[in-house]
Amino acid sequence: MSSLSLFLTVFISGVVLVIVGLGIAILLAPQSFNLQKGEPYECGIPTHGTSWMQFKAGYYLYAILYLMFDVETIFLFPWSVVVRDLGYTGLYSILFFIVILGLGLAYAWKKGVLKWS
């Protein structure tokens, strides 16, 4: 059995679960209608404006750092499998890489990027 077709099997069964479940719910569950039902719930008070406003997320710098490290993770995964065979050469070459990233993090830390504002 190839892994890919099994992957598809699992994927399809997940989708089927959702569709069947929602199907039953929509068919059998009672429905009612009133004007306020579809309005957003905000502690019972009509909401002010839309929620899709410009929203200042205080962590965009974290997101950039994340990108940096995530790319590194991708590079490191193949390396980590073969590090046994590569021996010390593999260690030194990647050590350089990690140290640079670590320095980057330390710099960001020092600069106060890691402080939520």
Binding site: Q36, E39, E42, C43, G44, I45, P46, T47, H48, G49, M53, Q54, F55, K56, A57, G58, W116
Partner: protein, 544 residues
């Protein structure tokens, strides 16, 4: 000392009328009030810098306001200022919000209930009632016809525009409207139907990401008009309302009203009743602080701690239940004593509770007080300085966490409090963590007080004989007690009837909530909830 104050007052406002009633009472005309208050507040020797109470009264011929001022250093130094206006169509008085921040909400309350508008108050919206409410309920000529104010179930958008009246430098009055929020603010409603606003508080909050920019407090979602209702009930009947103000300090509130009436008609309360009252008061205080602890931990997301606190609380409720047949609303104090004598095993149960509670306090400490997450979420968060606490009239554990000694039990000892020994817990940090710790320490002090009393309950009557119909002689009566959340006060104006002419409760929670916009500004939205928990307000106490 009194003479000096009188002199000071007469030096400032020569035409002031000074009377010696239960308290030193000064009547001035509206224009001079601000000056007098400022002088009283700012003079160095007897600084009256704590506005206890601001009561609007419909005196019949005029609409007036009574101010009870006292000194923050010594709460027993009190002075009452009175002013009023005879214009019933468009009554205007001068605001003292610039001197006492706590006056702000109180003045708005007076506007909603009596229709008096205050010049220079920055935000003159009605506080408890909707803006379109017809009539002013606390006026004697209020028309209670329900057709005037029908129940509306239609959701309406909130209008964030505040009217105000300003006096220009050349003495002209200008009416203007200001926007409370900016146009592009991200406004979110926290409450009224929210799990952690401790009732139906409504904080309209504008956010900058996760940071709270501004809070606009809305109240009145449980305004039940207790003060108006009281005006047509006899004194024993009014008692049952006090339990339902701050239901967590039910017994203490009731104690205050009973004492107020007892002093007015000179009833000697039997010793046994005094003991029972104080023991029950302290149990109530522990109960309230336990709930505050639980609710705060729950607000911070520690559900388990919440359940532990409620578990210990249940033991107190059991004692209440057996003593007076109620768990929360206990109806224990009556005029002249208490309604029920203690039951046979009362002392045994209470004495078993004391060591148990001490053991649990240690557990709470280990479980929550030193938890690194809890410390991070409470330390240095929601800071309030001593001056701010006084200006906002924040009393109780919260005020004492800002290093303001404001325990009425120490300053104006009532009942048995001058016979027992206990410490007033003061902390200097003024943050949420200090308020949190203050409560736990106060539980310990309350246990200590109970310990001193429980074995010495004297024999005798538990209730003095009173007349069937209680009439208070004409006059004004104040009584202040230390409720679990801070200073609770009762003000009765009697005209010799069996009903009070005007009854006002000074609720500690109102001051606590009024400080929220100040101490939450710039904190995160998660802190807003945590600070709310550390302030521990009860909404029905505010709304009355």
């Amino acid at each position: 000392m009194m003479e000096k104050i009188k002199k000071l007052i007469l030096d400032t406002v020569a035409e002031a009328v000074i009377e010696e009633k239960q308290k030193l009472t000064v009547t001035v005309e509206p224009k001079k009030l601000h000056l007098l208050v400022q002088t009283l507040r700012d003079n160095k020797t007897h600084s009256f810098d704590y506005l206890v109470n601001l009561t609007g009264v419909d005196r019949g011929e005029e609409l007036g306001v009574d101010y009870l001022l006292c000194s923050s250093a010594d709460l027993s130094k009190e002075v009452v200022l009175k002013t009023g206006t005879s214009d019933r169509e468009n009554p205007l008085l001068y605001s003292i919000t610039d001197l006492f921040e706590t006056a702000h909400f109180n003045e708005r309350e007076v506007f909603a209930l009596l229709g008096i508008r205050f010049i220079n108050n920055p935000d003159m919206r009605k506080f408890f009632l909707n803006a379109d409410w017809v009539g002013y309920p606390l006026r004697k000529d209020y028309d209670p016809n329900p057709e005037l104010n029908p129940v509306s179930i239609e959701s309406k958008d909130m209008v964030d525009i505040a009217p105000r009246i300003l006096e220009t430098s050349d003495g002209k009055l200008v009416e203007e409207f200001v926007n409370i929020f900016e146009d592009d603010d991200y406004i979110i409603n926290i409450g009224p139907q929210h799990p952690s606003t401790h009732g139906v508080m409504h904080f309209r909050t504008s956010l900058d990401g996760e940071i709270v920019k501004k809070i606009d407090v809305h109240s009145g979602y449980i305004h039940r008009g207790i003060e108006k209702l009281s005006e047509s009930l006899t004194y024993p009947q009014i008692l049952h309302f006090t339990d339902r103000l701050d239901y967590l300090s039910a017994n203490i509130n009731r104690h205050a009203l009973c004492m107020c009436v007892e002093k007015a008609i000179d009833i000697e309360v039997p010793e046994r009743a005094q003991y029972i009252r104080v023991i029950m008061d302290e149990l109530t205080r522990i109960d309230s602080h336990l709930l505050a602890w639980s609710a705060m931990t729950h607000d911070l997301g520690a559900t388990t701690a919440f359940i532990y606190g409620m578990r210990e609380r249940e033991i107190i409720l059991d004692i209440f239940d057996k003593t007076c047949g109620g768990r929360l609303i206990i109806n224990q104090n009556v005029i002249g004593g208490v309604m029920f004598d203690i039951y046979a095993d009362f002392q045994k149960d209470v004495k078993a509770f004391i060591p148990y509670m001490r053991k649990k306090l240690i557990e709470y400490d280990r479980f929550f007080s030193h938890n690194v997450i809890a410390l991070g979420r409470t330390q240095g968060v929601g800071f309030m300085s001593k001056d701010e606490a006084i200006s906002y009239a924040v009393t109780g554990p919260a005020g004492r966490a800002s290093d303001w000694s404001c325990d009425i039990r120490k300053h104006i000892p009532y009942s048995l409090y001058n016979q027992v020994e206990f410490k007033e817990i003061l902390r200097k940090e003024g943050d949420a963590y200090a308020r949190y710790l203050n409560r736990l320490d106060e539980i310990e002090e309350s246990l200590h007080i109970i310990e001193q009393l429980i074995d010495n309950i004297p024999q005798g009557d538990f209730c003095a004989k009173t007349k069937a119909i209680i009439k208070l002689p004409e006059g004004e009566y104040y009584e202040r007690v230390e409720a679990a959340k801070g200073e609770f006060g009762v003000f009765i104006e009697s005209r010799g009837d069996k009903f009070p002419y005007r009854l006002k409760f000074r609720s500690p929670s109102m001051a606590l909530v009024s400080a929220m916009p100040l101490i939450c500004q710039g904190e995160k939205i998660a802190d807003l909830i945590g600070i709310g928990g550390s302030m521990d307000y009860v909404i029905p106490d505010i709304d009355r």
